[in-house]
């Protein structure tokens, strides 16, 4: 496979821009080739942790922006969980006014550099795009996410990030539990109103899933640190090594420590396992553990004390972004072969299309319509293989996806020494176990009203602890809603 470099893509875009005769008609716009995301050569990036997608160059961004029809129906805006005025910011990019473009995004979104990288755009803003529809392919939709990333990076790299203004102190105190995307959003939005904000993080470094879960090659940690620095610059206090429910209880914060409102954004931090034989053998990991060792604990670095299991042949179970992340980490950490096992087909995979494509380019071997029935042990109690069954697709299930049905007698074995289980997370029990009266669903998620308020007065929640395992942008959307409600509550009292 030949790899097109960033320089080649930029050169083509520069020439493309020169040939445009303005004003452009819709037909001309649709004829502009969709701009490919420059990426590190797969053969090279398999051996490093650096970011894979390199970001559009300025000519590429401007040419891609010209593909937007500025259609009056703006279906993309409806597809965005935080309703960014997408055509407006794209127009500003086409005009070359990047500062105005990022200004438009910032009216609605707090973390554009993050969302531009990790949002599942193909199932959100880009899914209903008129250009994509006309060209009969979501792949051909205007690359909204890449454009968002372009202006967010442009802003940061040019030193133009401005710490948001903070209103005069109100004397009110808000506690935020967790420091992932939902919490970071609430912290910023509440602090802006002049309230004192403290963020409690259980780990030694703030950032939540953006740090421990999403790998460096997909979301550079410097970007997350930059967002956290921004909060500190606004005067938000961040307490790490602080486990709410253990170091201090939720009720203590309200009753003894003088907090006027709380936001719980502790995420979906309890890994699910398959409940099959052999799952506790040496060599079986939750994706959370594998990714935390690799990312937060820096397993990719020789200086790290946290060991990474020495794997030769790895099987990753699952088809979501976390499964792709784990598989791609395993390749980078030296595994000779990485197999991704998913019981449905690629069409049903919840992972972003770009991550699936990147995983394949990096040599991850996909096994679709297969599922393990047990994990096999050698004489030491270490993983030496899996027994699997083949599946076929049946009728649609509750999720609307066709249900995989096992094919009787199709058992076969696969030799592996490591199994990474990436089939999702349940909500962490620490807060609900230690907070009487906090209503939860049968899945253990917190129950909230339309303002993100829990069953307890002055306690709000959002993100994966409410949604179950979802996305960064949905967490941010929930955070915005809860922050608005907290600000209203504190304005009244």
């Amino acid at each position: 496979m030949t790899h097109t470099t960033s320089e080649q893509l930029t050169l083509a875009a520069t020439q493309g821009l020169k040939t445009l005769e303005k004003p452009l008609k819709a037909k001309q716009r649709m004829a502009i080739p969709a701009q490919e995301m420059p990426a590190q050569d797969p053969a090279v990036r398999r051996h490093n942790m650096n970011e894979v997608a390199l970001g559009y160059s300025e000519p590429q961004a401007r040419l891609e922006a010209e593909r937007c029809l500025q259609c009056p129906t703006k279906p993309c805006v409806a597809g965005c969980p935080v309703s960014i005025n997408i055509p407006a910011f794209i127009q500003k990019i086409a005009d070359g006014d990047f500062a105005a473009a990022i200004g438009v995004i910032r009216e609605s979104s707090l973390l554009p550099a993050v969302c531009g990288r990790v949002c599942p755009q193909e199932s959100q803003c880009q899914a209903p795009c008129t250009v994509g529809k006309a060209l009969k392919s979501t792949d051909k939709a205007v690359a909204i996410g890449r454009l968002e990333r372009f202006v967010a990076d442009w802003e940061r790299e040019n030193g133009l990030l401005k710490t948001p203004a903070v209103k005069t102190p109100t004397g009110k105190k808000v506690g935020i539990i967790g420091s992932g995307p939902a919490s970071v959003t609430v912290a910023a939005d509440v602090r802006r109103e002049g309230h004192e904000v403290t963020v409690f993080e259980a780990f030694h470094r703030p950032g939540g899933v953006l740090l421990y879960g999403i790998p460096e090659f997909r979301l550079p940690k410097a970007i997350v640190d930059r967002e956290i620095d921004e909060l500190r610059a606004m005067g938000v206090e961040i307490k790490t090594d602080f486990v709410i429910g253990r170091t201090r209880r939720l009720n203590d914060l309200l009753e003894k420590d003088g907090y006027d409102a709380l936001f719980v954004g502790t995420g979906a931090g309890l890994p699910k396992f398959m409940n099959i034989q052999g799952e506790n053998l040496v060599g079986v990991f939750s994706a959370n553990e594998y990714l935390t060792r690799a990312n937060l604990m820096k397993g990719y670095d020789d200086r790290a004390a946290t060991p990474i299991f020495p794997s030769k042949k790895v099987a990753v179970l699952g088809g979501g972004n976390v499964a792709m992340d784990a598989a791609r980490c395993a390749i980078r950490l030296g595994a000779q072969e990485v197999h991704l096992v998913y019981r449905r087909t690629e069409a049903e995979m919840p992972a972003r299309i770009e991550e699936i494509a990147h995983a394949k380019e990096e040599g991850i071997i996909f096994h679709l319509l297969q599922n393990p029935t047990r994990i096999l042990a050698d004489e030491r109690g270490w993983v030496c293989g899996m027994e699997l069954l083949s599946y076929e697709l049946g009728e649609p299930d509750a999720s609307g996806r066709r249900r995989p049905v096992e094919i009787k007698g199709s058992e076969f074995e696969m030799d592996v020494d490591t199994v990474i289980v990436a089939i999702g997370n349940e909500s962490n029990p620490l807060i609900r176990q230690t907070t009487p009266g906090l209503a939860t669903s049968k899945w253990g998620t917190l129950v909230v009203d339309e303002n993100g308020k829990t069953s307890l007065d002055r306690v709000f929640a959002g993100g994966d602890i409410v949604l179950g395992a979802a996305t960064v942008i949905l967490a941010m959307g929930e955070g915005r809603r809860a922050a608005a409600a907290i600000n209203r509550l504190l304005a009244q009292s």
Binding site: A202, F203, H204, R205, Y212, T240, D241, F242, V243, R246, T247, R248, G269, L270, P271, F273, N275, E279, N280, L281, V282, G283, F285, S286, N288, E289, T292, R293, M297, K298, D301, R303, A304, A305, T306, P307, F309, P310, R380, G381, W382, N428, P429, L430
Partner: protein, 282 residues
């Protein structure tokens, strides 16, 4: 950042430290543990049990054996130095109530986490019989502290250099055969000791709690690295434990899991001794 306010070497590689941690000192209850990390950038997170706490001073006591990278680094720290990260108190506290006769079996370094449990059991009105075991006299820790709590203290050493020359399971078996029958046994120590304590009490139907110390990363339920098989079900030591019914724990699986990184640990161990040698030369 938590300051070390007291340090004492208890035996060749066992250390006792008091560390400033006011919130943990106030919240902690018997049976709970902390996670310690020495270096924010490249350090590992390891669980250590809390041996004691002083809420007035705002300190917790840890007793640890320098066996791995982090415990070696901790061992060379001095009073006034700081431990970068201390998180806790984690895990479910020990269920304390008046049971009657309670046998506390502590082996080696396991005597340290047993101390607060024995203390709490005594305070709840139990008759507390403590069995302490070590390879030899020099490796016995907290003898005086345990003597102060115990209604009866039995010391066993492998070489007979102190107390009985026996394994802790010998007096445990005798106590199971005696009247009044123990209402509860609590065993903390090396996995193999806990396994055999559970096997000793099983025929007598004496309920036996064990406190497990498995490999952890976050210590809050997020990673599942600490999981063990208990009664055929998967449990997380960090949030469901660390204490479990010893008759239901699959110790063999747990011991295998503890060896997952053995080769890497041995490598680190040698490197640490090298560091110490270099440190001494200076």
């Amino acid at each position: 950042m938590n300051k070390i306010i007291y340090k004492q070497q208890l035996s060749s590689d066992v250390y006792k430290m008091r560390i400033e941690a006011p919130l943990i000192a106030k919240e902690r209850r018997a049976g709970q543990f902390i996670i310690v990390q020495i270096d924010s950038h490249f350090g590992e997170r390891i669980p250590l049990t809390i041996a004691d706490a002083d809420p007035v001073e705002g300190s917790i006591t840890i007793i640890f054996q320098a066996v791995g990278r982090t415990t070696h680094l901790l061992a060379i720290k001095a009073v006034g130095d700081t431990v970068q990260h201390v998180v806790g108190p984690l895990g479910q506290p020990t269920h304390i109530e008046k049971f009657g006769r309670v046998i506390c079996v502590g082996g080696g370094i396991g005597v340290a986490p047993m101390h607060p449990i024995a203390q709490a059991m005594k305070a709840a009105g139990n008759e507390v019989i403590i069995i302490m075991g070590a390879r030899n006299r020099d490796l016995l820790i907290l003898e005086e502290e345990m003597r102060a709590i115990a209604d009866e203290l039995i010391i066993c050493t492998d070489d007979g250099s102190c107390g009985r020359k026996a394994l802790v399971t010998a007096p445990l078996k005798e106590l199971c055969e005696m009247e009044p029958k123990p209402a509860l046994a609590v065993a903390i120590g090396p996995p193999i000791m806990m396994k055999f304590c559970a096997e000793t009490t099983r025929p007598y139907g004496v309920h036996t709690m064990v406190s497990l110390n498995t490999i952890m990363v976050d210590g809050t339920g997020m990673c599942g690295g600490c999981r063990v098989t208990v009664g055929g079900e998967t449990k997380f030591v960090c949030v469901d434990g660390p204490e479990f019914d010893g008759h239901k724990v699959d110790f063999d699986n747990m011991m295998t899991r503890l060896k997952a990184y053995k080769s890497r640990e041995d490598q680190d161990h040698h490197r640490c001794h090298l560091d110490e040698a270099i440190e001494e030369k200076k």
